[in-house]
Symmetry: C3
Subunit: 431 residues, 3 copies
């Protein structure tokens, strides 16, 4: 016969299963909580990616509206092609170059969410960097030349440059700070656009002697709609760049980021509106639109650290910078129908530097980093377009340019009333 | 030598750390759960704010489409300026007046999410109240006068009125019920628009003797797109107004709110479509669009308590009210190019009263509250505009009005084909 | 006097409350976690429903842009009416037929979220199926006839067909696989459109002898914006169809679904772009737009099981199928102004079959199921329209068709400059 357990042991034995049961249940619980956090992080990142996707029609409408109606289809084709190409090239190659992930995102895992969600969010950034160029070279570049650029940009140039900072490269090690891509996306896109503009040259008739001939956009309501979509999408662009959503700290950071993003957009809009009022004697619409974009680009490097009134100020300075930058590039006879070199390029530099001034980052590193981004993006893109120029030509004929790329490149017209011949009061024709 | 512990104390001592460990782990766990709920509440509110932001291009497109093409840029400029001004003035001052928060939202904390998220959600409501006015006074008001109105509206008038209910003021204490702002936002915006319309007077040539001269909008597809954006944005407007997302009760409330919101929109659309069919012998497009808005405004005070068929009915009555209200104001020679006084003002009153009829609120208090909102918004805005009229003038010259505000106020035209001279088949000109 | 407790019992009694307290707290905790998961599932599904709602303006803009300007208002009226009718008819009757829920969704409960959220998500699917038809029969059908179709489609036809699979009916039992509705929504909508097109006949002047007369759309930028909205909305359409969001497995599935959805869209766009380039010698815009839609429809049956390169391939084949299908139906003199029969119908069949080829589903069942869907949708819709034809007529007069449905059916014009007579440089009229 076994000796009975000592009473205290008996108690312990009695209670232990209960305690272990509780602890076990708690383990299950804890795993469930972690799982819910994972699911929430995933969904939030995907929603932000979808918000950023709103920027694609945003750019398409802005660019189409600011070009002549004879080029509207071509603008849309380039924007669709850019998104398609980014979806393929950045998926097959670019993402791997930028983040060291496997080719084709195959089997890639991120920590807080599935690799596929991480990729989708990063892919729309790559598409943005490339799309910025499409407006600047509008109205005169051959469609195939642009397609090749978009492939190289999303497969190689943007990923290579992005790896310097977001891929953990040398700029990251130096303490460079670019939260959502004032430099990585916007300065890169803007200075790539400069490379394209120099390679392809200005539109025919744009510069006559020292005079800049106004070539107003054909449909400013489209442009107005486009910038609203950019503004909306930017909340995903900057907010989602926190890349984590489920802790209280993340939540606070994202709310702060979104508030500062809006304050800077507002600062840029107001500054450009009043500055253009001063310069042109009337508050200018397309300058105000560029002011909104400039405000947004100004805060993109530091929406988490440039707070409140400083965000307004950073955006307002961006609104001033974009206005003078547009006038400056026109003086240089660099033709940019949509002002993207200035709004994304010049202001992208400003936004990066602003984190050194208002946000506590090392100013020298910020300057070095953004100049490196702008410089290499410019040189790489210029070299690419010059090579394409030598090999296949990048500019359409004068005849095609005057007639418009829609007919020349796509055999169609953006606006038609061919089946309305019996209704003469349409589209203003009968007024 | 110490006396040994009594056996039962020994057991207790043995097991206590385990029990405490479990309890401690559970405390951590519980904190993590609370944190996740906080993060989720934050993200959900921010997403709703971004949805409401869709209403800005929604209003801009609707208003631009229903005005002549000569005023399209001016409409967009006012809508951008309104959003920018709300982003500054409601941030600096208005939010503090409305909710007793610190100026500049500095250090403000909400309970379930960061103060910045709370502010962003409330800011887009302030912008909505102001934007409602921009369409009604379109085509004849000086741009600077509108800017000053927008500042006063988002810094003072809307916050002061909003404090009566959402800021915990006297109407709140009386049991007034306005879930998402049929009165606080829409009746206020709509009757402010009435104040503006009376102060600035009708467009030239709108009323000839007793005849109302039709001045049809220049681009109804823009208006059609605009109202779809309003419909989409309203899911954030009403759904987000639950202001809490993480409990089962909140989830049920939000789903109910969104369903009732859709049912009322549908009721308003169908009622206006068929009523206009009866009145004009054909189903009218712009009346159907106003029916959608009216349906949405009708449910905005009580989307959580006016359920199912009653939501359809409330919306349908809104669709009838907006139709007759538009005809009524035209009889009074109050010129409202977009019908905002009726769709937001008159129907805003109806929506508030509807909660007393279908939703269990005190009917007397609902009537009192909504009339107070409508009355004070009207008087304040009318007084403001009359003061501006005396000081600086609020109406453009007849010459400018006939030529359009786009050229007069902004030196630009919404639609141009200046660079398309060699392509005669554009925009219908060659057909 | 009571005997004292044995020491070990005393210990047990001492510690039990603590242990029970912990366990009890944990029960509360567990309930809170479940509640948070419920709230998150609800919000995520509602956000997906709102994303799908973006497809309504998407379809409206696409269809309006591809029709003549004389029919733009009519297109918008049909799209608004479809959404309104779906919101009423699918709510009152259809949802009950499809899922066995109570009429009017009254008291309906889903498992992981409120019944109202489940209904809203399913309702936008019903609206999509009906809307697909509105473009195909554009420009010649009487508005009342379309309204009656929309009622029958969303109350009876779509719900009846949907019940076969998603309602747990015979196809579900056979192992048919259609994740988000290549067949249930798109093939049904596309072949209903075929029924409508055959019943109403081609537009006047469309087929002259063996020649197909081009009737180009009046506003391709609208169409371009529309397809961007479809692309955006499809992330909710396919992603939300997982119908559960809060587990790690769900999160992984949704991210995979969204990635594959994008890859297929990209595959379709690229294939249609290059194929049209080959056929027409120029990359065609409207074919590229149809390629995007075709890519999206191709993956909709199996976005969770057709992965990576196979998603690209499935989409690309869709892009090829839509191109030849459009040419084929024109050969047959079946007039489809927007290509919806091909993009949704033919490609809907392909997408369903693709899950049998690339995704492991039973190929025979997939073929049987999709043909059953296409066949019954076609026959039911054709029969309905032929009955309406006999009873009330479904086609407008030739006079009305030539003048456009906007004036004939709605007494309005989409584009006007009536108040701009003194500004001759508007809308291209003066260039």
């Amino acid at each position: 016969m076994r000796a009975p357990l000592a009473p205290w042991l008996r108690t312990t034995v009695t209670l232990l299963p209960l305690a272990f049961g509780v602890a076990l249940a708690q383990g299950v619980e804890s795993a469930e909580l972690a799982e819910l956090a994972y699911a929430f992080d995933t969904f939030a990142l995907l929603m932000c990616a979808v918000l950023v996707l709103h920027m694609k029609p945003g750019f398409a409408l802005l660019e189409a509206g600011l070009h002549g109606s004879k080029n509207a289809i071509n603008i849309f084709m380039k924007n669709y092609a850019t998104l398609a190409i980014a979806g393929l090239a950045f998926w097959a190659v670019g993402f791997s170059i930028m983040y060291g992930a496997p080719l084709f995102v195959a089997g890639y895992e991120a920590e807080a969410y599935p690799g596929a969600a991480d990729f989708l969010f990063q892919m729309v950034f790559a598409a943005t960097a490339a799309t910025i160029v499409s407006g600047t070279i509008g109205g005169r570049m051959k469609f195939p030349a642009y397609l090749i650029f978009a492939v190289v940009m999303t497969a190689l140039i943007y990923p290579f440059l992005g790896s310097w900072h977001w891929g953990g490269g040398w700029l990251s090690e130096m303490g460079f700070y670019d939260f959502a891509g004032s430099s990585v996306v916007h300065a890169v896109g803007g200075f790539a656009a400069l490379g394209g503009a120099l390679a392809v040259g200005p539109r025919l008739g744009r510069y006559v002697g020292n005079r800049v001939v106004a070539m107003p956009g054909h449909n400013l309501p489209l442009a107005g709609m486009g910038v609203f979509l950019l503004w909306i999408g930017w909340f995903g662009f900057n907010g989602g760049s926190q890349l984590a959503f489920s802790s209280e700290g993340d939540a606070r950071a994202i709310a702060t980021v979104m508030l500062n993003t809006n304050l800077a957009a507002v600062g840029g809009a107001v500054a450009a509106l009043f500055l253009s009022w001063g310069i042109f004697k009337k508050p200018d619409f397309s300058m105000t639109l560029n002011g909104v974009i400039a405000g947004l680009v100004s805060i993109t490097a530091g929406p988490d650290v440039i707070n409140g009134i400083w965000a307004v100020l950073a955006g307002a300075i961006g609104g001033v910078v974009v206005t003078y930058s547009i006038l400056f590039f026109d003086k240089l006879k660099v033709d940019d129908p949509v002002g993207a070199i200035s709004a994304h390029g010049t202001v992208g530099i400003w936004g990066t530097v602003a984190v050194g001034i208002f946000g506590g980052a090392n100013l020298g590193v910020q300057v070095l980093g953004t100049l490196a981004y702008a410089g290499v993006a410019f040189v790489a893109t210029y070299a690419l377009f010059m090579a394409l120029k030598a090999v296949m030509g990048i500019r359409v004929t004068a005849h095609h340019e005057v007639g418009g790329l829609d007919i020349a490149e796509h055999g169609a017209e953006a606006y038609r009333n061919a089946d309305s011949l019996n209704n003469p009061v349409l589209m203003g024709a009968g007024d």
